[in-house]
């Protein structure tokens, strides 16, 4: 490896030349100053650091930068500019699903990945879809409701 990784970050071409063993999470927060991706545990057990890699939900704490050659990475900063985000954002707002907010960027990206693969999920499928994203505040009911609302209101978007 010529010690450089080419990948796309929120649509922009990037060439990463730092340590390939660094976590994507740390590179995002420390290197690219994208702090919407949160660090909750660094062991893939909380989902606060969720990002989308090649269309799929990943824990960015468990991704080494060197593995991202050619990958397309999207963080909450990039996703928040999309139409789908707008629908999810409104749906979360409608049921006051955001409390402390620390899990929420990851939760929203988990919602997006779920709806992208399953635009009409059942309640159970929603719960499974966000089951890797811990939330200590809400008890999850409102978040599950929000994803359901987004699926309805965003008809055709996913």
């Amino acid at each position: 490896m010529s010690n450089s990784v080419k990948f796309r970050l929120n649509g922009a071409e990037m060439t990463y030349t730092e340590n390939p063993a660094m976590r994507l999470l740390d590179a995002l927060r420390e290197g690219y100053l994208l702090t919407g991706t949160k660090c909750g545990c660094k062991e893939g057990e909380c989902g606060a650091c969720s990002v989308i890699v090649n269309g799929q939900l990943y824990n960015s704490c468990l991704v080494a930068m060197g593995s991202l050659e050619g990958a397309e990475v999207m963080t909450i900063e990039g996703f928040s500019k999309t139409e789908r985000f707008a629908v999810l954002e409104k749906a979360y707002q409608e049921v006051s699903a955001v409390q402390c907010g620390f899990c929420i960027p990851g939760m929203v990206l988990a919602s997006e990945c779920l709806l992208a693969s399953n635009p009409h999920p059942t309640e159970e499928e929603i719960r499974v879809g966000i089951s890797g994203n811990l939330c200590r505040c809400t008890g999850y009911n409102s978040i599950v409701a929000a994803v359901g609302i987004a699926a309805q209101k965003g008809e055709g978007l996913w």
Binding site: R29, E30, L33, L34, T35, G36, T37, K38, C39, G40, C41, K42, E43, E45, C46, A48, T75, I76, E77, S80, F85, L88, E89, Y92, Q93, V95, S96, A97, V98, Q99, C100, G101, F102, C103, I104, P105, V108, E123, E124, I126, R127, V128, I130, S131, G132, N133, L134, C135, R136, C137, T138, G139, Y140, N141, S142, I143, V144
Partner: protein
């Protein structure tokens, strides 16, 4: 439902969901030093020489010798050192702080520090501890006579374990010392607690201390007293290094070093006559851990709640918090209540079983009513809507039918259903509001008519800023956009007290409503105005006597009834909660969805406390120090969870509101254990009760 209760978009919704909100860990770190604590690896030891590796330029190590003021953290008593003084009292006790510009280098250097320990005998079991921190006693009626007159006396022991707050954002702060003034900012619940602690430790005048809250990712009590400790440590480093010092814990450090819910050991003796409780004689023992921190006030609440919601004419409670050599326990939503409410609720189910009665019937028969005396010989001044709430929850959960069906089960899966009836006393215990807090709030109106809410109240996700805005804007009858509630900064806001004890809406919100009423009356267009409102003790309260522990401990109570249904896999012990119902009386909700979110979230935390969240200090080591070992609920755990509100106006709260946040953390755990004992057809005495406990039980009955 009142107009005010209709949900509005939360003020911080967009910045949080878009990822734009800046928590302390998100702030730019340029020019900052990163700090990592050197922590004791011994549970109890004297320590001597600390051997440091050669520190690169710009890297510093600070310890007790570097504290410019008093090396004690101001909490309730001043026994928690900023940095240990020659002796460490638990694994994780901070000895010193290493700071430097590269976090990775700091971590490397930290591993090379050597500490010489002379190990002392530690104590891990509070029942064996000889060191009593606090005693809190209740003596009501004539307990000896009650037991002499009893038809039957029951005696049992109960135990609850540690519980970790597990907020998603770990504790973290930044300290900066510029021009003689120390500023601390970060994740915290109580700016003025931190303020007092930093002033004392640093020997600084009040005008030279400033505390600012950043967006805070959950607290649940875990950021009540702990940030005071961390702030003093960070301040010492900022003071000497003349650079901003940032300390943000990783999950492991947060779990081993910050406060938890107190483990408890309770012994109940209950006198029954004609199927009525006529006396309770209770020993309450809380494991405080190594330092006193908030144990006195936690214990007080536990002792007051030890008789549950029941009208117990003769009551004796001996409460004690003892020292052990584990991480200090402190505040956790419910604040001493969940432990004794667990014990009394289980006790009542066991007595009912022996009497051949349904537990809920027995409990209702003994429940206090409006006008009855409280455990501290105060009064239930306001309605006790427990019967109506119970009816609603039992109906929603089909409790009686299920209870009938769930008997003599022998198959692989066994179901059970259980209930709990509890309260949470609203606000500070006793005279705290009047004598200690003395809350002050301000409303500052600018010339253009914008109204700024000035309180020390913090929003850590519970929606306080939105709630306070609604109270003020509704009272003033102006749009919410015309009212500003910002993150508190002690340079700007008065001390309206800490954001704890389910007091913020009832106490601070009430002061704001009064201030807003005044502002409305005195409103002059085009003029800047400032309204200040000070706490006034409700005149209906029976004065609280701290020495004898008598009088009104709380102006009022929030009530809840919880039903939990479980299915147990007898092959694996796995416990699945298949239904959960809760009814909550928190007065009039200022925002229905915010309150529902609080109730649901607390409900799930308490279900976790009952059947999932096991944390143990094994020889002083917190073994469950990660999210893979400390198991908290995910979205698939409790799929069938229903919360309802029972709305009764509280006349002394703003718009009829009273305490809310902690209530849901009290009842679900005992309801869960009641359901488990129903499924296993036995009586249980401890929480949490997890799969291994199920298998141990099944092995024994075999």
């Amino acid at each position: 439902m009142k107009t005010i209760s209709k949900a509005v978009p939360k003020l911080d919704h967009y910045e949080k969901i878009s990822g734009a909100a800046k928590y302390v860990c998100d702030l730019p770190t340029k020019g900052m030093l990163f700090g990592r604590m050197l922590r004791s690896t011994e549970a109890r030891a004297k320590f001597g020489n600390i051997t440091l590796p050669e520190l690169p330029e710009g890297y510093f190590f600070y310890d007790k010798n570097d504290v410019p003021g008093v090396n004690k953290v101001q909490i309730v008593l001043d026994d928690t050192p900023v940095f240990a003084e020659g002796i460490v009292e638990y694994i994780g006790d901070p000895i010193g702080l290493l700071v430097g510009s590269d976090e990775r280098v700091v971590n490397q250097l930290l591993k090379q520090i050597q500490v010489e320990y002379e190990v002392l005998e530690p104590v891990f079991d509070p029942r064996e501890s000889k060191e009593s921190f606090f005693n809190v006693n209740i003596d009501k009626g004539n307990i000896a006579e009650a037991f002499a007159n009893a038809d039957k006396v029951y005696e049992e022991k109960f135990h609850t374990g540690l519980q970790e707050q597990a907020y998603l954002e770990t504790n973290g702060l930044i300290a900066e010392y510029v021009d003689g003034k120390m500023t601390i900012r970060g994740s915290l619940q109580c700016p003025y607690y931190v303020f007092g602690a930093v002033a004392q430790a640093m020997g600084l005048e009040n005008e030279n201390v400033r505390i600012v809250q950043d967006v805070t990712g959950g607290g649940f009590g875990g950021k009540e007293d702990y940030p005071s400790v961390l702030a003093c440590q960070a301040a010492v480093a900022a003071y000497h290094s003349k650079k901003p010092v940032r300390i943000v814990f990783d999950r492991h450090e947060d779990m081993i070093a910050t406060s938890k819910r107190h483990p408890s050991y309770c012994t109940y003796r209950v006198a029954i006559k004609d199927k009525k409780v006529i006396g309770m004689d209770i020993d309450v023992l809380y494991d405080a851990g190594a330092y006193t921190t908030l144990s006195l006030v936690v214990l007080q609440r536990g002792v007051i709640g030890a008789a549950g919601i029941y009208n117990v004419p003769n009551l004796k409670v001996r409460g004690e918090a003892r020292k052990t050599n584990i991480v200090p326990s402190g505040a956790f939503r419910g604040f001493g209540g969940p432990q004794t409410f667990f014990a009394v609720e289980m006790m009542m189910t066991h007595i009912a079983k022996d009497l051949g009665m349904d537990a809920v019937e027995f409990k209702l028969q003994n429940a206090a009513k409006q006008g009855d005396t409280t455990s501290t010989s105060g009064r239930y001044h306001f309605p006790v809507p427990i019967p109506a709430m119970t009816e609603d929850v039992l109906k929603a959960s089909d409790y009686y039918n299920k209870k009938k069906v769930y008997q003599n089960q022998t198959g692989r899966y066994r179901r059970g259903i259980g209930a709990s009836l509890v309260y949470h006393g609203c606000g500070f215990t006793g005279n705290g509001e009047r004598d200690l807090i003395k809350a002050v709030v301000k409303l500052k109106k600018s010339k253009d008519g914008m109204v700024e809410v000035l309180t020390a109240g913090t929003d850590m996700g519970q929606g306080l800023f939105t709630t306070l805005n609604k109270i003020v804007s509704s009272t003033l009858e102006i749009p919410m956009e015309q009212v500003i509630v910002a993150l508190p900064d002690t340079d700007m806001v008065p001390d309206s007290g800490p954001t704890v004890a389910s007091r913020s809406i009832m106490s601070v919100g009430n002061l704001l409503m009064k201030a807003a009423k005044r502002l409305k009356e005195e409103w002059i267009d085009g003029e800047a105005q400032l309204i200040e409102q000070r706490y006034e003790h409700p005149d209906f309260m029976i004065p609280f006597d701290n020495d004898n522990f008598t009088g009104d401990a709380y102006p009022t109570f929030s009530w809840s009834v919880n039903v939990v249904e479980v299915e147990i896999d007898s092959l694996t012990g796995f416990i699945k909660v298949i239904g959960a119902w809760g009814c909550y009386d928190v007065g009039t909700p200022i925002d229905e969805q915010i309150v529902m979110g609080q109730m649901e979230g607390g409900f799930v935390q308490s279900l976790g406390y009952g059947m999932m969240e096991k944390m143990e200090a094994h020889n002083g080591w917190i073994r469950n120090s990660s999210f893979s070992d400390y198991i908290i609920p995910t979205a698939v755990e409790f799929e069938n969870l229903h919360v309802m509100l029972h709305v009764v106006d509280y006349p002394n709260g703003p718009f009829g509101a009273k305490g809310a946040g902690e209530l849901p953390n009290v009842g679900p755990a005992p309801a869960t254990i009641d359901a488990i004992q129903n499924a296993l057809d036995t009586t249980l005495n401890k929480a949490p009760f997890i799969a291994e406990d199920v298998m141990n039980f099944l092995r024994e009955v075999k």
